[in-house]
């Protein structure tokens, strides 16, 4: 066997300061991939969630499909779709990332809509609201806390998964992890790991604030209980 290699100190600060620019741009790419995935996931899940709420028969196939997507491992899903969407393309990364948000967002949209008291919808109809108005002005706003709770879970999940998409060419901080492995060098891996955890924590904290701001009628105490 060859000589044991040394991966260097856990953190080499001089490397970090010399690579600041690269690290920052990878962090921003990580954020961008995450935001796009969650936004696209939401655009798909909201109408489908409303549809599943109204049309009971849609639930089994819809949740079955989203459930299968959720169970398939990330690296496997990436390689499964890569022949269609292109190896090492942003589309491949995004399709995989979006597919993991669907189950979480669909489930929370449906749960939120189901939690709207029938009396409230009835009152809105009694006041002369059209079905579309009831949905947009009463039911969806009341479902918002649940939807946003789903957005939080989805965001934290996607931040972690973006690292894996680096293996297929597009992966923000994941590229640092690969670099560390290729060069047998600890620091980039540690930087990728720590920034990924911090990004997840910061996004979550930001979404909690957004949740509070967008649902002023919910008492603050019950919100913290998820």
């Amino acid at each position: 066997m060859e000589l044991a290699t040394s991966a260097g100190p856990l953190v080499q600060w001089s490397w970090i300061s010399s690579q600041q620019g690269t690290i920052l741009s990878l962090l921003l790419q990580h954020l961008e991939l995450t935001v796009i995935a969650v936004a696209v996931g939401l655009v798909i899940s909201l109408p489908l969630g409303v549809a599943a709420w109204r049309l009971r028969w849609l639930r089994t196939p819809l949740f079955g499909f989203a459930g299968v997507l959720y169970v398939v491992p990330s690296i496997a899903l990436l390689s499964l779709i890569a022949p269609i969407t292109g190896f090492f393309s942003v589309t491949t990364a995004e399709v995989a990332l979006v597919s993991y948000t669907l189950l979480i967002l669909l489930r929370n949209t449906l749960a939120g809509l189901e939690s709207v008291p029938e009396d409230v919808s009835e009152a809105a109809r009694g006041m002369g609201y059209s079905p579309a108005q009831v949905l947009l002005k009463v039911q969806l706003p009341l479902a918002l806390p649940s939807v946003l709770a789903g957005v939080r879970v989805a965001t934290v999940t996607v931040v972690g998964l973006v690292n894996v998409t680096a293996l297929l060419g597009q992966g923000g901080l994941g590229q640092l992890i690969i670099q560390g492995f290729t060069e047998d060098f600890n620091t980039p891996v540690v930087v990728g790991l720590v920034l990924s955890v911090l990004l997840a924590g910061a996004s979550d904290a930001l979404l909690v604030l957004a949740e509070r701001a967008s649902t002023p009628w919910v008492p603050k105490i019950s919100q913290t209980a998820r």
């Binding site: 066997m1 044991a4 290699t5 040394s6 991966a7 299968v68 959720y70 169970v71 398939v72 491992p73 990330s74 690296i75 496997a76 899903l77 990436l78 390689s79 499964l80 890569a82 022949p83 190896f87 993991y100 189950l103 979480i104 489930r107 929370n108 749960a111 939690s115 649940s146 709770a149 789903g150 879970v153 934290v156 999940t157 931040v159 972690g160 998964l161 973006v162 690292n163 894996v164 293996l167 297929l168 994941g174 992890i177 690969i178 560390g180 492995f181 047998d184 060098f185 600890n186 891996v189 540690v190 990728g192 790991l193 990924s196 955890v197 997840a200 924590g201 998820r226």
Partner: protein, 247 residues
């Protein structure tokens, strides 16, 4: 020949079914490391979760720590462990790096669910058990633990599916499991090989999910089944499986 029939031909060719790099060996390695990691995580997670849930102490800190641990991407952890000289030097370095990272992936959902499951047992039920003459240990094993079992099994199911799927990444640091097909295919631009490996992992994950669901049902006492059906009401906002950090 189109892509899918190439995959079919690859998966059915005799060469893929024998030797160290044959599908049976790769599959066995993946199942073995996952089983080891999940069993070790059940021992640690259920042990710690049940004690803390029973005493109702330190819950806030435990749940927060488990949540934070979930944000650690497995890919980063596997890689970091996989380049440590102390681990690389070992004859089965890849296995050890993958095993530790998979254990770390499995503990949080199991620990959280064990804690919540035991802690959620109605205090009146405990009092009733003690009033019937059970010793505290009996009350725990015969009442609290069985009532918490559905939630504990849900945590173990989440963990098992995530681990068996994520163990694929172990091939990145030299552990010879199904990920070997994925990574060697990526390196050699052999899409058929990559796709075949990915397909096998996906099927394996679905099979494990189904098996864990059946095990959970078999292990759940009839009395707790009814309470399990009622219990999740308050937890509607969370996905059935806890959020994952399969990265």
């Amino acid at each position: 020949m189109n892509f899918l029939s190439q995959v079919g031909a690859y998966l059915t060719s005799g060469a893929q079914w024998s030797g160290m790099d044959g599908i049976p060996n790769l599959l066995a390695n993946q199942v073995e490391i996952s089983a080891l990691a999940v069993v070790a995580a059940v021992i640690a997670g259920v042990g710690a979760g049940a004690v803390l849930g029973h005493t109702r102490r330190g819950g806030f800190a435990v749940l927060n720590a488990a949540n934070a641990a979930r944000a650690v991407p497995s890919f980063a952890l596997i890689t970091l462990l996989g380049i440590q000289p102390a681990i690389v030097r070992l004859p089965q370095g890849g296995l050890i790096a993958t095993g530790i990272a998979m254990w770390a992936l499995a503990v949080p959902p199991i620990l959280t669910n064990a804690y919540v499951g035991v802690q959620d047992v109605d205090p009146e039920v405990r009092t009733a058990a003690v009033a019937m003459g059970m010793r505290p240990a009996q009350a725990f094993w015969k009442v609290e633990f069985p009532l918490a079992l559905p939630l504990i099994m849900a945590g173990a199911r989440t963990a098992a599916v995530e681990v068996v799927a994520t163990a694929t990444l172990g091939a990145y640091v030299g552990f010879n499991d199904l990920g070997t097909l994925v990574f060697s295919g990526l390196a050699l631009h052999n899409n058929v090989e990559t796709f075949s490996g990915a397909l096998l992992v996906a099927v394996l994950a679905l099979v494990v999910d189904a098996l864990m669901a059946l095990t959970a049902r078999a292990l759940t006492p009839a009395g707790a089944r009814a309470s399990a059906a009622r219990a999740p009401r308050g937890r509607q906002l969370l996905p059935r499986r806890a959020p994952s950090m399969r990265g």
